[in-house]
Amino acid sequence: MRKIACICMMILSILACFSTIVAQEKPSEEQVKAAFLYNFAKFTEWPASAFKNKTSDFVIGVLQNDNFAGKLTDLVKNKQVQGRAIKITIDDSPENLKGCHIVYTGTISSPLLESTLSTFDKLPILTVGDASGFVQLGGIIRFFPLDEKIRFEINAEKANSAGIRISSKLLKLATPFKAQIGEH
């Protein structure tokens, strides 16, 4: 009896494993980025002044990218960050995203990027983007692909000047970036 039960269990567990493998299709690049964006919030501290009160929402702003915003909204459904509910805001104008805590700029690049980033300058907003030269232009985290994986680089000095504290764990994972002031 026991042997039969053991064999049954084994078959069941193998089937279960198989089914999870089947269910886990490789996530899309946007999905990974959305998850990363969400997880950045967990490794970052904002100053208390960034929130209206203790229960106010944690706001993630997405600039001009409805598709990404849709993915992100799916991901963060019913989730919380630092004890706060997550709210996704999509807008074309950076001015309207000044109250966000994280702003994802997507692939937008210079010169629009420069003006966008200057809008968020000195504000406690974690700016995340894909454009090359994003961090050099004053962005804080930039996604880039490496060995079929999404990696990121962080401008820690910029984050510090914005009053945001990024966890060393996160910094350790990032490709270190030194702001080359005066280059641009």
């Binding site: 999870t20 960050v81 764990k169 996160l170 350790k172």
Partner: protein, 488 residues
């Protein structure tokens, strides 16, 4: 078994053994308890340490897992190389797939078994397996498993065992030294008491006393022992006294008895002397009586020579015979060893011979056949018996063989019962003429016979068959016999 062995030991070794066994047992129990307790607490320490380590590593891996950076996670795990007891470790993601792992040099990745278990830890023989979840903002993002060897635990056990063993040895040695010194307080008084008891039992000297050194039970024992000794001593002294007194008494009594015996002996000697004197005297008396009677016989004999008348001569001769018969009795008496009784058969022999010679039978040859049994008679009975015999034989010689050339006289004397005798004199002569009544006769001889017979309370029978037979039956008078016995 144990009690037998303990009982066979001396008090000293008993004390040492008891203390040593109990202290060693105590030390072993305490040491074991310490080792067990220390092991348990050290295990807790290890668990705590591992927990902390797992949490730190797990926490350091949160970002790696979250951002799918295996290289970073592996680097984090590689930091475990500093912890030499960690054999292997791995980090899994939310789905349970291995995300990163670490193996110490020479170790194989074998933590698959640990994964399916619940979170927590498990001690195996040689290692401990640890499985902890990794949290990120209250959400489990993965898990970390650690496998560590227990060398530390083993080393600590070895160290603890060594330390405890050394402590037990040192304390045991100290205890042994202390006990060997201190046991004297208990065993010495007892041993002293025992050796004193032995000494006393050998020397029997009950004046010895044990010194009292302590006020405990042994001290009490010493006191009691001493009290017992003094009691025994006292009793001994009393016994000695009593013995002395008894010996004195015995000595006194012995002296008295010896004196008494001496006295008795001297009295006996005196009695014996006096008896001998009396015997001599008695012999002398009998001798004198016999001599006097002999003198009378001789006088009668001298006198009778001048007598011509045959009747008178016969009377003289008869008288001579009667005196002789009495003299013969006295002669027999003083010759006998007894002095009071005579063998009547001997007497009858002598008397018959005398009578035969005194009657000078010329015409007739008479023979006397003495068939008397050797019966002893006292002088009181012997005298009348002798006189009767004299008369009867004389009668025979005078009358029986008239006109005969030869004749025979038979004398018989025998018992018919214990005290009754028969004296019988027979002849084969002419017999008594019918006109003569022997009971009523003028003959002095027959009168004498009758008188003497009645004196003896006896009776006479006359048988006239082939001659004449006189049989006199009598008994020795009782009072006379008693007197005779007393004298004997």
């Amino acid at each position: 078994m144990l009690s037998k062995w303990i009982n066979a030991c001396s008090i000293k070794s008993k004390l040492i053994n008891i203390v040593m066994i109990s202290s060693c047992l105590g030390l072993i129990v305490a040491g074991t308890a310490f080792i067990v307790f220390d092991r348990i607490s050290f295990k807790q320490t290890i668990v705590h340490k591992m927990e902390t380590l797992a949490d730190i590593i797990g926490s350091n891996c949160t970002a790696s897992i979250t951002f799918d950076n295996r290289r970073d996670a592996t680097e984090t795990l590689d930091a475990l190389a500093a912890e030499k007891h960690i054999l292997s470790a791995n980090v899994r993601d939310k789905t349970g797939a291995v995300f990163a792992f670490y193996n110490r040099v020479g170790q194989n990745f074998d933590l698959d078994t640990s994964y399916n278990r619940n979170y927590g830890y498990e001690f195996k023989n040689d290692f401990i397996v640890f499985h902890r979840p990794i949290y990120l903002e209250n959400e489990i993002v993965g898990s970390i498993a650690l496998k560590a060897d227990l060398e530390e635990l083993k080393a600590r056990l070895r160290y603890n065992v060594t330390v405890v063993a050394i402590i037990i040895m040192i304390v045991g040695l100290l205890t042994l030294v202390l006990v060997t010194r201190l046991q004297k307080f208990i065993s010495d008084p007892v041993l002293k008491l025992a050796s004193l008891a032995e000494q006393i039992s050998k020397s029997k000297d009950y004046t010895l006393r044990a010194p009292k050194e302590s006020h405990d039970e042994v001290g009490k024992l010493v006191e009691t022992f001493n009290a017992m000794l003094s009691e025994i001593h006292e009793r001994d002294m009393q016994l000695l006294h009593a013995q002395d007194r008894l010996e004195m008494r015995v000595l006194e009594r012995t002296t008295e008895l010896e004196k008494e015996i001496q006295e008795r002996r001297s009295v006996e000697d005196k009695i014996r002397e006096s008896l001998a004197e009396k015997e001599v005297l008695l012999k002398e008396i009998h001798h004198r009586v016999k001599n006097n009677l002999q003198v009378i016989t001789s006088l009668l004999n001298l006198q009778s020579r001048k007598i011509k008348d045959p009747t008178t001569l016969e009377m003289f001769r008869d008288s001579q015979g009667r005196v002789k018969s009495m003299a013969l009795i006295h002669e027999k008496l003083y010759r006998s060893s007894d002095l009071s009784r005579i063998n009547f058969a001997d007497y009858a022999d002598n008397l018959a011979k005398y009578l035969l010679t005194s009657f000078k039978m010329e015409t007739c040859i008479v023979r006397v056949q003495n068939m008397a049994e050797p019966i002893y008679l006292s002088v009181d009975t012997a005298v009348p018996c002798g006189l009767i015999l004299n008369e009867l034989i004389s009668n025979c010689l005078k009358h029986a063989f008239t006109n005969r050339s030869e004749g025979q006289i038979t004398i018989k004397f025998y018992h018919i019962s214990q005290d009754e005798f028969v004296l019988q004199v027979s002849d084969n002569g002419v017999g008594i003429p019918g006109n003569i009544d022997y009971m009523n006769t003028t003959s002095l001889g027959m009168q004498l016979v009758n008188t003497l017979t009645s004196q003896l309370d006896g009776k006479i029978e006359l048988l006239q068959d082939m001659g004449t037979t006189f049989a006199i039956t009598f008994s020795e008078p009782k009072y006379k016999k008693a007197r005779v016995e007393n004298v004997a």
